[in-house]
C-alpha cells in the first residue's frame, strides 16, 4: 500500500510512514495516489461545449463483459446516456451526452463518508479506487444518495451496488473507446 500523505510505498499495517511520519488514520481517506477514468475534453465544438463521445456504448459493452461475463449495457459501470432526443426536439440547445462514471473522489469521498457499515467500502491499494465489498455491504444505498455525480447505483436484478473499480488498474473502457475520449489519469 501507499502512504496517504506522501504517496511513497509502505508496508501494510505500519503505524507511521517511515518517509514523512504521517499516521494513517483510516484506510478510507486517500489524498495521494488516486487514479480515475475521466472524459477527455473533445475536439468537436458544439454550441460552446466540446465533445468527442459518439455514444457507441463500446465502453459499456466491454465494462460489463469484463465484470459480468457478458455484455449487458445496463450493468456497465460507466453509463453513456444520450440526450440528443431533447436536442432534436429543441428542449435543449446542446446535445452533450451524460457520462456517468465515478470520479474516485480523493480525500474523503462523499460515498465513503456516508457509508456506516464497517469494511463495506475501501480504497484499492494500487489505484486508490473506491471499492465496495459485497460481502459487507448491507444494501442501504446511503452511498448512492451521497454521490453528487450519480456515479454508483443499485441493481435490483443483481442485488448489489455497481461502481467503477478501475478494473484493478487496467481500465478496459479506455482501451476500446474508438475516439479516445476517455483517459486514465492520476488525479492526486
Amino acid at each position: 500500500m501507499f502512504c496517504e500523505k506522501c504517496g511513497k510505498e509502505i508496508t501494510k499495517g505500519v503505524a507511521v510512514c517511515p518517509s514523512c511520519g504521517f499516521q494513517p488514520t483510516s484506510s478510507k481517506v486517500r489524498l495521494k495516489n488516486v487514479w480515475r477514468v475521466t472524459p477527455v475534453e473533445g475536439q468537436v465544438p458544439v454550441n460552446g461545449f466540446a465533445t468527442d463521445c459518439v455514444v457507441c456504448e463500446t465502453c459499456m459493452h466491454f465494462c460489463s463483459h469484463y465484470h459480468e461475463g457478458s455484455a449487458i449495457p445496463a450493468l456497465s459501470r460507466i453509463v453513456i446516456d444520450p440526450t440528443e432526443f431533447d436536442w432534436m426536439m429543441h428542449n435543449t440547445d446542446h446535445h452533450l451526452v451524460n457520462r456517468l462514471i465515478c470520479r474516485q473522489c480523493p480525500g474523503v469521498a462523499p460515498c465513503m463518508a456516508a457509508c456506516r457499515v464497517p469494511n463495506a467500502m475501501s480504497r484499492d491499494d494500487k489505484t486508490g479506487a473506491v471499492l465496495i465489498d459485497d460481502e459487507f455491504c448491507n444494501r442501504c444505498r446511503a452511498c448512492e444518495r451521497a454521490c453528487p455525480y450519480q456515479a454508483l447505483w443499485f441493481s435490483e436484478s443483481r442485488d448489489r451496488m455497481f461502481k467503477c473499480d478501475l478494473c484493478g488498474g487496467d481500465p478496459q473502457c479506455v482501451q476500446v473507446c474508438p475516439v479516445s475520449c476517455l483517459k486514465y489519469e492520476k488525479i492526486a
Binding site: V46, C56, H61, P73, V79, P178
Partner: protein, 664 residues
C-alpha cells in the same frame, strides 16, 4: 427437438406476441433452428415461411412481423449491434426484410430474447414494454400520433434511462406503404414494415434488461473482440478512412462517376454536385458526432442542424446517402438544407427515405411526360429542383393527404393508380433502383446490399479474392473482364456471405471500409470461406463450425426467402427489370453495357448456378441438399401459384389518414 443448456451466443428464447388476444408466449430456440438458421435474417426467413400463408394481405391481422437481433449482437464483439426486421412486404408483395443499427438490438438480447414475432391486431393502439419484470402490452393512447423522437423520449422518461425504443411514426400509423420501422429515432429498417406495425395497432417496443448470455469461452471471446477492434483500427483498405470521416455521404463523391447510378436522367450537372460533396455538407450542417450502433468503432453518423433559410431549426441524426440520393441527384435538387429537412421528416414520420424519394422521383417523371397534371397533384407543380414541392409532398405522404395518398402507395404501386403510367414503371418488384445485374436478384426486390464487393473493391482486392475463390468454385469467371461469363458464381458466393452477415447482426461496413470486404475476424479476400468466422463461432457457441457450413446456412436462408417469393408468384418474368430499366449504360458486374437480352441470359445463368429451374424456382434436389425438403413438398403440392401482381391494395380512401404536421 431438444435445447442444449450449454449453447453459447443465443439468448435462447423467442417472444411470441399475439396482439388480438393480448397474449405473450415464450418459446425456446431449438438447436435445429439455431444451427440451421443462425439468427437475425435467418430466423426471419424461417418464421415467415412457416407462419405466412401465400397471397394474404400484408396489412391483415394474420400477417406476421418479426424482429430479431443477430447472433453476435449483444455480445462484446464489435460492430454487431443490428436488428433484422422481416415481414410480407406491403410495399412489394414479396419477402421484405431490412437491417437496422441502433442501441435497441443489444437491449433485446440483454432482455433475454433473440427474436420477437408479432401477430394479430390489437383492438386499440398499444406498445410493448420488455424489461426484467417481464413483457407487458400497454396502452399507447398518449403516444399514438407522436413522431418517433417524441415516442423515444416519452418512453425513456417513463421507463428508465437504459430503455431503448423501436417503433413507427405517424406514417406507419396511416399505413403508408413506404413507412418503415424506426429504431432509436434515427435508424430505418425495410421501407414497408412500418405499415405492418400500424396495421397491428402497435406503436413501439421499448426494451431493457440485465439477462446474461452464456458464452462458451468468455475469456478467449473477449480477447478476440479486442483483437478485432485492433484489426478495424489498423485497417487501411481503400475508403476506410474516408468512411470513418463522412459515413455513407462519401458516396456523393464516389458514385457519380459510375454512369447509370440512380436516376441517370435528372442527374445534377457537375457544377451543382459540388454542393453535395461531403466536405461542404459537413461544414454547413454537421454539429457533432454521433455513432450509429451499439459497440461500433466506425462512428459513421452525425448530428445535423440547419441554421438559416426556410428550413432553419431542423435538427436530425444519421443523414445517409441512401436516404437522400434520389431526392437530390434524382430530383435535380441541389438545395442541401432541404435535403436535411427531408431526412428529418422521414425520421420523424417514420418513412423510408429511399422509397419515399423514389415515389417522388417517379411522380416527377410522370409529370414531365404529361401523364400527371396539376389536377392530379392538388395544384402542386412537380418540377426538377423544386425543393418546396418535395417537402410539401413528403408531409402529404406521411399524413396520407391529397396526392400523398397515391405517393404513399410506393413507387411500384403508384402505376396501378395512375392511368397510362404502367409502361414507365421502374425496378424489380416495385423497388425503384438502378436495375444493375447484381441488384436484380436480391430477394427483396432491386437492392444493392447483396453485393458490395463486386463493384466497390479495388482491382487488387478483386483479383486476390478471385485467386482464392476459384480454388473452391472452378467455374468462377475472371473478375476484371467485361461480360457475364462465370460472374453469377461470384454473386452466388457473395449473396450467401451477406446473408450470413445479416444473421450475425454485423454491419456491412465493418473492418473493410465501404470499398472493401466486410467480414468477421478475417480478411475476406484471403479467407473467402470465412474459416476465421467459424473459429469465432466455435468459441462463442461451443459447437464446432466450419466456414463451408456457415456459408451453406447462408444458402439455405437465401433459398428459403426465394421459395417464399415463389409462393407469392415470383418467377422469371417478374425477376426481369421493368422495360424502362433494361438499358444499363455501364453495369458494375458485367463491366459494360447491358440490355434486356443480356439480362435474360444473366438470369438463366444465375438460376443454373443456384440449382434453380428455368423459372427460377429452387429444385427439389437443391432444397433437399439444404435440408429444406418440407419446402419442396409445399411448392410441389401447390404450384403453379398465381403470377406476381404486386401486393393487394386497399381502395385509396379506406386507409387511415391525418395527424399533426411535425414541426421538426
Amino acid at each position: 427437438m431438444q435445447q442444449s443448456n450449454k449453447r453459447g451466443g443465443w439468448a435462447g428464447k423467442i417472444l411470441k406476441i399475439d396482439l388480438t388476444a393480448g397474449k405473450v408466449v415464450e418459446e425456446p430456440v431449438t438447436d435445429e433452428l439455431a444451427y440451421s438458421f443462425l439468427g437475425g435474417r435467418g430466423f426471419d426467413a424461417k418464421f415467415l415461411w412457416d407462419m405466412v400463408r401465400p397471397g394474404i394481405d400484408p396489412l391483415a391481422p394474420e400477417a406476421v412481423l418479426t424482429l430479431g437481433a443477430g447472433l453476435l449482437t449483444g455480445t462484446v464483439y464489435p460492430e454487431c449491434g443490428r436488428v433484422n426486421v422481416g415481414c410480407l412486404s406491403p410495399l412489394t408483395g414479396i419477402y421484405g426484410f431490412g437491417n437496422s443499427g441502433g442501441w435497441w438490438p443489444t437491449r433485446l438480447k440483454a432482455a433475454g430474447y433473440d427474436h420477437i414475432i408479432i401477430t394479430g391486431r390489437s383492438p386499440k393502439p398499444v406498445y410493448v414494454l420488455i424489461n426484467d419484470d417481464g413483457v407487458e402490452i400497454k396502452d399507447a393512447g398518449d403516444i399514438w400520433g407522436k413522431t418517433t423522437t417524441e415516442t423515444e423520449k416519452i418512453l425513456r422518461d417513463k421507463h428508465g434511462r437504459d430503455v431503448r425504443v423501436a417503433g413507427i411514426g405517424p406514417a406507419g400509423e396511416n399505413l403508408v406503404r413506404t413507412a418503415t420501422t424506426i429504431v432509436d429515432a434515427s435508424y430505418s429498417a425495410h421501407g414497408g414494415s412500418g405499415a405492418v406495425w400500424g396495421s397491428k395497432n402497435l406503436k413501439a417496443i421499448a426494451v431493457t434488461g440485465t439477462k446474461k448470455i452464456h458464452i462458451h469461452d468468455p475469456q478467449t471471446f473477449y480477447d478476440l473482440a479486442k483483437q478485432e477492434i485492433k484489426r478495424i483500427r489498423e485497417c487501411t483498405r481503400q475508403g476506410e478512412a474516408e468512411y470513418k470521416k463522412y459515413g455513407t455521404l462519401i458516396l456523393y463523391k464516389w458514385l457519380p462517376k459510375y454512369v447509370g447510378h440512380g436516376a441517370d436522367k435528372r442527374y445534377l450537372p457537375p457544377e451543382e454536385m459540388d454542393h453535395l460533396q461531403p466536405e461542404n455538407l459537413f461544414e454547413k450542417y454537421c454539429v457533432g458526432y454521433h455513432a450509429a450502433c451499439s459497440n461500433c468503432q466506425e462512428n459513421c453518423t452525425y448530428l445535423w442542424e440547419v441554421n438559416v433559410g426556410p428550413y432553419a431549426g431542423t435538427r436530425t441524426g444519421a443523414l445517409r446517402f441512401g436516404s437522400t440520393d434520389y431526392m437530390t441527384m434524382g430530383m435535380g435538387n441541389a438545395n442541401t438544407s432541404s435535403m436535411v429537412k427531408f431526412h428529418s421528416l422521414c425520421n420523424q414520420y417514420g418513412l423510408c427515405g429511399k422509397m419515399a424519394a423514389t415515389a417522388l422521383y417517379f411522380a416527377l417523371e410522370l409529370y414531365e411526360r404529361g401523364i400527371l397534371t396539376k389536377e392530379d397533384t392538388d395544384g402542386i407543380e412537380i418540377k426538377a429542383g423544386d425543393h418546396e414541392a418535395i417537402i410539401e409532398l413528403t408531409h402529404m405522404i406521411a399524413l396520407r393527404q391529397g396526392f400523398g395518398k397515391i405517393l404513399g402507395e410506393g413507387p411500384g404501386n403508384m402505376a396501378r393508380f395512375i392511368k397510362d403510367a404502367y409502361p414507365y414503371r421502374h425496378g424489380v418488384y416495385g423497388r425503384i433502383y438502378t436495375a444493375l445485374l447484381p441488384f436484380i436478384t436480391s430477394t427483396r426486390g432491386t437492392d444493392h446490399l447483396g453485393c458490395l464487393e463486386t463493384f466497390t473493391a479495388t482491382p487488387e482486392t478483386r483479383n486476390k479474392l478471385h485467386e482464392n475463390l476459384v480454388k473452391i468454385y472452378p467455374d468462377l469467371g475472371p473478375p476484371m473482364e467485361p461480360g457475364i461469363q462465370g460472374k453469377t458464381r461470384l454473386m452466388f458466393w457473395e449473396e450467401h456471405h451477406k446473408t450470413v452477415l445479416d444473421c450475425m447482426g454485423r454491419c456491412f461496413i465493418a473492418g473493410g471500409g465501404i470499398s472493401g470486404c466486410p467480414s468477421i475476424g478475417y480478411e475476406l479476400d484471403e479467407d473467402p470461406m470465412g474459416e476465421g468466422q467459424a473459429r469465432l463461432l466455435t468459441i462463442l457457441t461451443g459447437r464446432e463450425f466450419t466456414g463451408a457450413e456457415i456459408l451453406k446456412a447462408g444458402e439455405r436462408i437465401f433459398n428459403l426467402e426465394r421459395a417464399f417469393n415463389v409462393r407469392q408468384g415470383a418467377g422469371r418474368e417478374s425477376d426481369m427489370a421493368a422495360p424502362a430499366d433494361q438499358n444499363i449504360q455501364f453495369d458494375w458486374l458485367a463491366l459494360g453495357k447491358v440490355d434486356g437480352n443480356i439480362m435474360r441470359q444473366y438470369l438463366d445463368q444465375y438460376y443454373e448456378t443456384r440449382g434453380w429451374d428455368k423459372d427460377g424456382v429452387p429444385t427439389r434436389a437443391k432444397l433437399e441438399e439444404l435440408g429444406l425438403g418440407y419446402v419442396a413438398d409445399e411448392l410441389e403440392a401447390n404450384r403453379p401459384y398465381p403470377p406476381y401482381q404486386g401486393p393487394p391494395l386497399w381502395p385509396i380512401d379506406k386507409y387511415p389518414s391525418g395527424g399533426e404536421r411535425t414541426k421538426w
